[in-house]
């Protein structure tokens, strides 16, 4: 009987603690902790992942940033996660949302994220990251978006990472960033992924 009640209570929702009490947040001063917990609470209520927010707060704590800056960063990330979820859809995973935020902050328009969702099967974490990282290397956001969307339907995640590395090498060697991507995309129908040596021990990867 009690088990049935337990299940019924779980269905309608048992009361949760007032604010999220994650002991990792003890690294923050009490005032900051309360403000951050409030943001976490709101995020959780609308179904956004809280772990990225916690990590952002911990980053600020380790870097001895002022509490107001930490709170601002967490709030901004929470808002950006919400935008990313609108663009990527409610089923997006936490890593996809984080990568989506990175892409948006790099200058990709929300429509690009939505197009990527349509163009590519599976998780978009790597594709979105590559998009963001290309822009960080100096590639204009529109060029980066065109490049990633062109590769999205066929390329595997490892291919996209290799593409990004190749573009970065070209830029380092002096190619203009916009040109570097288009040359790569046009030549890159058969982008080979690294490490396709079947018998070898898998080596640890590099960022």
């Amino acid at each position: 009987m009690m088990l049935a009640l337990l299940l019924v209570a779980a269905q309608v929702g048992a009361p949760a603690p007032a604010l999220i009490q994650d002991p990792r947040l003890d690294r923050l001063d009490p005032d900051t902790r309360v403000q951050v917990s409030t943001v976490l609470d709101s995020a959780r209520r609308v179904g956004l992942p809280t772990e990225p927010l916690i990590q952002r707060a911990l980053e600020g704590a380790t870097k001895a940033a002022p509490g107001s800056r930490i709170v601002a960063a967490v709030r901004r990330l929470s808002a950006d996660l919400r935008v990313a979820r609108i663009a990527l859809g409610g089923e997006a995973s936490a890593p996809e949302l984080e990568a989506g935020v990175a892409a948006l902050r790099a200058g990709a328009r929300p429509q690009v994220l939505a197009n990527l969702r349509s163009a590519r099967r599976g998780l978009l974490t790597v594709a979105l990251s590559v998009l963001a990282d290309l822009v960080a290397s100096g590639v204009p956001a529109d060029s980066a978006a065109v490049a990633v969307l062109a590769l999205a339907p066929q390329a595997r995640d490892a291919d996209l990472v290799e593409f990004r590395r190749a573009v970065e090498r070209d830029i380092a060697l002096g190619a203009p960033p916009g040109a570097a991507t288009s040359v790569r995309v046009n030549a890159g129908a058969n982008v080979q992924s690294a490490g396709s040596n079947p018998g070898a021990q898998p080596r640890p990867r590099r960022p």
């Binding site: 009690m2 088990l3 779980a10 890593p95």
Partner: protein, 185 residues
């Protein structure tokens, strides 16, 4: 005036966890922590053992979440993991039981009335509970403290209903005897 807080059901949280939101598991942990912790504490008789068993059970439940066939019954499924985990948490609990038995024997030998007067009720209950055989204690706690039906206990423990009823009956008789002993010393 106030904004209604709509909490997610277990099934909803499980769904979110399965799409990558590890943080949603935290909500399930805090939802079940105290209820399951009570069982673990009374079953094992030691707070550290209980919290360790509880923590292990939560971790195990997360790692085998795909095996939870019906996310709406997450609570019951988690219960089963905890009950099994408590069964294997033998060592320290067994030592403490033996210590309690020795204490009870010592108490029989002591003839001082004020000693029995000072005996806390809660301690007496803990000691009496600790003296029960594990399967009797388990059945008693699940039936009378956690309020499960015999069919549900059977499902969790793998024992038959009539065997469970016998264990509960034995537990009740023994508890009564141990506690009357404690009062009369």
């Amino acid at each position: 005036m106030g904004i209604e807080r709509v909490e997610s059901s277990d099934a909803e949280l499980v769904r979110r966890i399965r799409t990558g939101d590890i943080g949603a598991y935290g909500a399930l942990v805090s939802r079940y922590r105290d209820r399951l912790g009570r069982y673990a504490l009374h079953m094992l008789g030691d707070r550290e053992d209980a919290e360790e068993a509880l923590q292990d059970s939560f971790v195990r439940a997360y790692r085998s979440l795909a095996r939870c066939d019906d996310p709406a019954r997450f609570g019951a499924w988690l219960y089963g993991i905890l009950v099994n985990r408590c069964r294997t948490s033998g060592a320290r609990a067994a030592r403490r039981r033996r210590m309690f038995v020795r204490d009870a024997d010592a108490l029989h030998g002591a003839a001082h009335a004020d000693q029995s007067d000072r005996l806390e009720w809660t301690d007496a209950v803990d000691r009496a509970l600790a003296r029960l055989a594990p399967e009797s204690r388990e059945a008693f706690l699940l039936k009378h403290v956690e309020d499960l039906e015999y069919e549900e206990i059977a499902e969790l423990t793998g024992a038959g209903v009539s065997a469970l009823k016998m264990r509960v009956k034995r537990a009740r008789e023994q508890l009564q005897r141990y506690l009357r002993e404690a009062e009369h010393v």
